[in-house]
């Protein structure tokens, strides 16, 4: 075995070459992730990392490798998206790929999430032959539609949610098509900054192509192809090994979205996991029918939510399509988890996805209680405030995102103020928000008492209160778990539900849909108060260590009376 020259193409791949190529492909994707974030303009990408990058199969679009720094919710969506592009090219409905081309697409029904998640896809050629696809997704801060930012709580069809693009070539042979760009920029808000993001998103794919070509030069296309096939088979085997360790059986769980934002009734996600041997089947067919409001989930997002839930349980399994092979997700036709045109979908990536992952946790915690936590807060906590600042004489749209408590688990109490299940993005500092927007935070605190009781309690949510200082604004909310708190498991209690309150002088109102609303009028001096969910408790509260109860009381997490009520003891 020679370590410094590539093995002959004919030789079976040895363990080392395989491992080295796997690490190399991963590295290509990681570098795309970093390049995209560091040069992007939108804080939602640059700071919140709401983006992902990957490599996809030239024939099927199947995921070959994906960046480790990408937003978890995109873990499985882009392979669907690439698959649709390939299909449309085959049907003559999208242009034939040529070197230097980059397609842009954000159609949710073509393997997407919501319209704000814009995908760029680049065909990569070796010796004139298509070798693979690179694709990335970036969350644009606006894509047109009835509300700034795109999260309309009341939309009833996708056209109200913004501009929808089928796969078209934004770059043709390396040159940006100014006409297509003009169409896009005249249909979105704050268009002047998008050119910076478009350049960043395209540049990330170029970085990926350059690094991938280094691998091609080193190992040859044929060896890489063989390695990719083997890596996929090995990942599938790795996932099967994890699944084998789960007891065979049928595990049922349900979770609820508060409402669709239009009709004030809960949406039910009913999941049946059938585990047999080394496969798992996920059946959502008993879930609620399609809804009028924007809480429908396209199938790609439904699948991706299952994948990310499973990946949270088995974090060491590498991400590629092989890892998903042993997982069968039945297409939940006729439910809100298989949205068809023109159902509105803006809430699917941020909120419904987290309820789907929660259902996966709640089903599998029954089978493998050591590996799965009680339900986490599971909401992105989106609060948007748009208005006009009379001092700066400029319009603004402020986004506040907050975390919540994680579920207790076999090892420890849940984490406090953890990030949403599908995200990795940080909350903006209060000091930054107050610099940019005419607001003053009156508090930003740990939400006492919110963690669900259990042997291991849930983590705590956040309690904040923000006042509008001048002018007028409109407030919108896309949150969840307002109707029911995150469920406890194995005897643990539920975490506290999400609460939104609007204080106008002495009057306090609560949004009709609890966690979702839009366009609420806010005047100077009015305050918005938000309490995010605590995590679910894990195990019988009676089994909690007395010292832990006493510590929690001493820290003021619970009053002595609350401890008495929840645990029957004060420590």
């Amino acid at each position: 075995m020679n370590l410094h020259s590539p093995p002959p193409e004919t030789k079976a791949l040895d363990a080392l070459t395989l491992a080295v190529i796997q690490a190399g492909l991963q590295q290509v994707c990681n570098e795309m992730d970093i390049a995209f974030s560091r040069s992007a303009f939108s804080p939602v990408i640059a700071e919140a990392d709401d983006r992902a990058d990957g490599i996809y199969d030239r024939d099927t679009g199947a995921l070959i490798s994906q960046g480790e720094f990408g937003l978890p919710v995109f873990v499985g969506t882009m392979q669907h998206s690439t698959g649709h592009i390939i299909r449309l090219i085959g049907e003559g409905r999208a242009g034939k790929p040529e070197p230097g081309d980059i397609y842009i697409v954000n159609d949710p029904y073509l393997g997407g999430t919501h319209l704000m998640d814009v995908r760029f896809a680049k065909p990569v050629f070796v010796d004139g032959q298509l070798f693979c696809w690179l694709q990335n997704t970036g969350h644009w801060p606006d894509i047109g539609g009835m509300v700034p930012g795109g999260f309309s709580a009341h939309a009833t069809e996708v056209e109200q949610e913004g501009l929808r693009l089928p796969p078209v070539k934004l770059f043709k042979r390396g040159e940006m098509d100014a006409e297509i760009f003009a169409i896009i920029s005249s249909n979105i808000r704050i268009a002047d900054q998008r050119i910076g993001d478009i350049k960043a998103q395209a540049a990330a794919l170029l970085v990926g192509e350059t690094r991938l070509m280094d691998l091609v030069a080193k190992y040859g296309a044929a060896t890489l192809d063989a390695a990719i096939a083997q890596i996929r088979a090995r990942s599938a085997e790795r996932m099967r090994a994890e699944i084998r360790a789960i007891p065979d059986g049928i595990y049922k769980a349900e979770s609820f979205v508060d409402s669709d934002g239009v009709v004030n009734e809960p949406l039910r996600i009913a999941l049946t996991v059938t585990k047999t041997g080394e496969t798992m089947q996920f059946d959502f067919s008993e879930s609620s029918p399609p809804c009028q409001g924007p809480m429908n989930s396209v199938f790609a997002t439904t699948c991706s939510s299952v994948y990310l839930g499973v990946k949270h349980i088995f974090p060491d399994v590498p991400i590629n399509s092989g890892a998903f092979e042993p997982l069968t997700i039945l297409k939940p036709e006729g439910t809100f988890l298989d949205a068809q045109y023109p159902r509105p979908v803006s809430g699917c990536a941020a909120e419904v996805s987290q309820r789907i992952a929660e259902a996966v946790f709640l089903a599998l915690v029954q089978a493998i209680p050591d590996k799965v936590t009680a339900a986490p807060a599971g909401t992105s906590g989106n609060f948007a405030l748009g208005g006009f600042d009379p001092v700066k004489k400029a319009g603004y749209v402020m986004y506040q995102i907050t975390g919540g408590g994680y579920g207790g688990n076999a090892g420890h109490d849940g984490l406090t103020n953890g990030c949403s299940t599908i995200g990795i993005s940080k909350t903006a500092p209060v000091e930054v928000m107050e610099q940019y927007y005419p607001v003053l935070f009156r508090r930003f605190a740990l939400r006492e008492g919110s963690g669900g009781a259990g042997k291991a309690r849930g983590g705590f949510g956040v309690h904040y209160e923000v006042e509008l200082l001048r002018g007028e604004a409109r407030a919108s909310f896309v949150m969840d778990h307002g109707r029911f708190g995150p469920p406890g498991v194995l005897g643990g209690k539920d975490g506290a539900p999400n609460i939104v309150k609007i204080h106008r002088g002495a009057e306090t109102t609560i949004p009709e849909h609890l966690s979702k609303d839009q366009g609420l009028r806010i005047r100077a001096g009015d305050r918005v108060e938000v309490m995010t969910p605590g995590g679910g408790g894990y195990g019988d509260p009676a089994k909690r260590d007395a010292a832990d109860i006493a510590r929690d009381v001493a820290r003021g997490y619970y009053t002595a009376a609350e401890a008495e009520a929840l645990w029957g003891r004060r420590g």
Binding site: A15, L16, A19, P43, G196, E431, L446
Partner: protein, 679 residues
């Protein structure tokens, strides 16, 4: 005769380099003794004595310590109280909604200040620094007394927007000191006058939590040293790569956290400059982790966004050392998919690799080096009870070779190669992600295991040259001797450049320079030259990531700043954005007191050098490389003459490290005793 000692206390060993300078030249002495865990001062005195010196003979001691780093990581810190803005006492506990790993909904976090000791008082500034709510002075007094009663030893005063107006923090500090005379009062804005309340508050809490620890340690050390007759100055290393007088170090104790890795990088920078080089990636591989940093244009990269542990960012300018969780103890395994895997688990130093004989039973990178003859089993330093090579081979056979269908040698080589692949990925992330091409750098290899892997790693990275310094195992101690005195200042401006008041820029930069100069010049006896570096952190409007741009002086014009920013941005991202406005976020000033150049050529005694490379040969052993066994000559590093060349395969051994020269590579001893390897 002037005697100066650089002493670095690491996790395992305390290293010392002692220079003795008189009219005729410089002599260097060294010592390596086990670190005394309970009280590091004991090991320090032992190291001085091991070098055949006495504290009474020394004119200056420059000291690097891990006392504060360990205290934070192990949470063995002082009990600290917090007085903060009403409504915000939980900022330190909430963080900014994260989790430790992207996947896995688990994890825990304990802030350094426990909740009952976090107290609120009425007061509020807005983002412009105007008072919204006046300071409730009676409440400050009441809460300070409560914290004393609770047994707190240090206190942090941290108010929102204090970077914009510090009046309330300053006044609260006066009140606290009046009712509680206390050397350990940290005002949030003093360490870091930058927005972001969580990061600024956490930085302050780290400072307060280690202040009493560091103060006691330094006093202890000075006591032990003066009991042995030491009467002169003691300087302590900071994470910014500079040193501060021991009497002042506790005031900004947080700056000593992460000082160990920084001193290694400072040694590398000094070595490069004397070797006529300017760009290096430093590679310090130890048992459990590897530290990587980047030196460009002779200057180590500095970052103000390092994180010491999950949830504990320290936003102070420090040498940007990135730690990769892979080292000699990284464990190799075959995973459930039947693929070879190296890391992320590590055998650490306890139980350590199999060959240490401390109960380790899983194959590691160090063990693979032994199997392949790259390490000499008779010269391992950390061995408790000797394990035979056959036993190690048997474990590799059973755990790896048989399941993978490879020979033991093949699998050991694969373990090393895969470890290098992961390492090269991590190195690319710190170099390429900042717009640098690794091919423009040399790989500066040190630490116990760095030189062992450096040549192969450089090939993996496409780096053309490896530099192994004279004393790879004593680099941190050398860093103490070459480190400059250094003071950094940061102020937030955060305005579009075209709206910035340039008089204000001038005033801020001048004040930064003057306050930093005042501290540096307290030590002017040690300084040959004082350098002032100004810069700005900038971004395009709408962006959140910052780029550091050098500025010539406080008299800089708006146009100068715009031009410097555009140039730096293009270098990093290869994109020009004339349509978007530039924003000036922070002004930064560093004052560096440069010490006299250290005579690196004296690190290896010239008396030990033979006349030719052939005479430096200690023996020959079989080394496995490129898929086969080779007879490789083993050279004594100390005996190689200046200018000698050694062609691989070869092994160069010295007391503190082993360098492997891969087949096809050539090592040359340069004029000051470095090994320069063309890979």
């Amino acid at each position: 005769m002037r005697r100066v000692a650089g002493i670095d206390v690491g996790g395992t060993f305390t290293d010392l380099l002692l220079t003795e300078q008189d009219g005729t030249g410089v002599a260097v002495k060294l010592a390596k003794v086990p670190t005394s865990i309970a009280n590091q001062a004991v090991g320090v005195v032992k190291a001085i004595e091991a070098a055949g010196a006495s504290p009474a003979d020394l004119d200056l001691i420059i000291h690097g310590t891990t006392a504060t780093t360990n205290a934070v990581l192990e949470r063995k810190v002082a009990k600290v109280g917090l007085i903060t803005t009403e409504g915000f006492r939980d900022i330190l506990e909430l963080g900014r909604r994260t989790r430790p790993r992207a996947y896995g909904m688990t994890g825990t976090f304990e802030p350094l200040i426990e909740r009952p000791c976090r107290r609120e008082v009425a007061e509020r500034m807005n983002a412009q620094g105007d008072v919204v709510t006046p300071l409730d002075e009676a409440a400050v007094k009441r809460e300070a007394e409560a914290l004393v009663a609770a047994g707190c030893e240090a206190v942090v005063i941290h108010f929102l927007h204090s970077y914009a107006n510090a009046a309330h923090e300053i006044r609260a500090g006066e009140i606290v000191r009046s009712v509680w005379p206390n050397a350990y009062v940290t005002l949030g804005h003093e360490l870091l006058s930058e927005y972001r309340e969580y990061e600024r508050g956490t930085t302050a809490s780290v400072n307060a939590a280690v202040q009493p620890i560091l103060d006691r340690y330094v006093q202890h050390l000075q006591g032990d040293l003066s009991a042995k007759g030491f009467r002169r100055d003691l300087l302590v290393m900071n994470g910014n790569g500079g040193t501060v007088p021991a009497t002042l170090v506790a005031r900004e104790a947080a700056k000593t956290v992460m000082s160990g890795p920084a001193s290694g990088v400072m040694a590398a920078a000094a070595t490069l400059s004397q070797s006529g080089l300017t760009n290096a990636i430093t590679y310090d591989m130890g048992g459990t982790s590897t530290d990587v940093a980047l030196i460009h244009g002779g200057v180590p990269e500095v970052s103000a966004e390092l994180t010491i542990d999950y949830g504990l960012p320290i936003h102070l300018p420090m040498v940007d050392v990135r730690t990769v969780g892979a080292g000699g103890g990284s464990i190799a395994s075959v995973n459930t998919a039947g693929m070879l895997q190296v890391g992320p688990h590590s055998a650490g130093s306890e139980p350590g690799p199999i060959c240490y004989g401390r109960g380790g039973t899983r194959p590691t990178i160090t063990d693979a080096n032994l199997i392949l003859g790259r390490l000499d089993p008779d010269r391992l330093t950390a061995v408790q009870s000797k394990v035979s090579l056959d036993d190690i081979r048997a474990i590799f056979e059973g755990d790896l070779a048989t399941p993978l269908g490879m020979s033991v040698e093949e699998v050991a080589a694969a373990v090393i190669r895969l470890g290098n692949v992961h390492m090269s990925g991590a190195i690319r992330m710190v170099s390429l992600s900042r717009g640098y091409d690794p091919r423009d750098f040399v790989l500066f290899a040190f630490g116990g295991a760095g030189p062992l892997h450096a040549v192969a790693l450089a090939r993996e990275l496409g780096i053309p040259e490896v530099l192994v310094p004279a004393r790879p195992g004593l680099t941190n101690a050398l860093g103490c001797l070459v480190a400059d005195l250094r003071q950094d200042r940061v102020n937030t401006v955060n305005k579009p450049l075209d709206q910035v008041d340039m008089d204000e820029v001038k005033r801020l930069m001048t004040a930064q320079r003057d306050s930093a100069l005042a501290v540096v010049e307290e030590e002017k006896a040690e300084i040959e030259e004082t350098v002032v570096i100004h810069g700005a952190d900038m971004q395009f409007r709408g962006q959140t990531h910052l780029i550091r741009v050098p500025l010539a002086s406080p008299d800089v014009t708006r146009e100068d700043i715009q031009a410097a920013f555009e140039k730096a941005y293009f270098h990093r991202f290869q994109v020009r954005l004339p349509e978007i406005r530039a924003v000036l976020v922070n002004l930064v000033t560093s004052v560096i007191g440069r010490r006299r150049a250290f005579p690196l050529s004296s690190l290896l005694a010239s008396a030990d050098r033979k006349a030719s490379a052939a005479e430096a040969v200690m023996g020959e052993r079989q080394v496995h490389a490129d898929g086969r066994w080779w007879p490789a000559k083993v050279y004594a590093r100390d005996a190689l003459p200046i200018g000698a060349s050694v062609t691989g395969p070869a092994v160069i051994q010295q007391i503190d490290a082993t360098t492997v020269i891969e087949p096809g590579a050539t090592a040359t001893v340069d004029a000051i005793g470095n090994l320069r390897v063309k890979v």
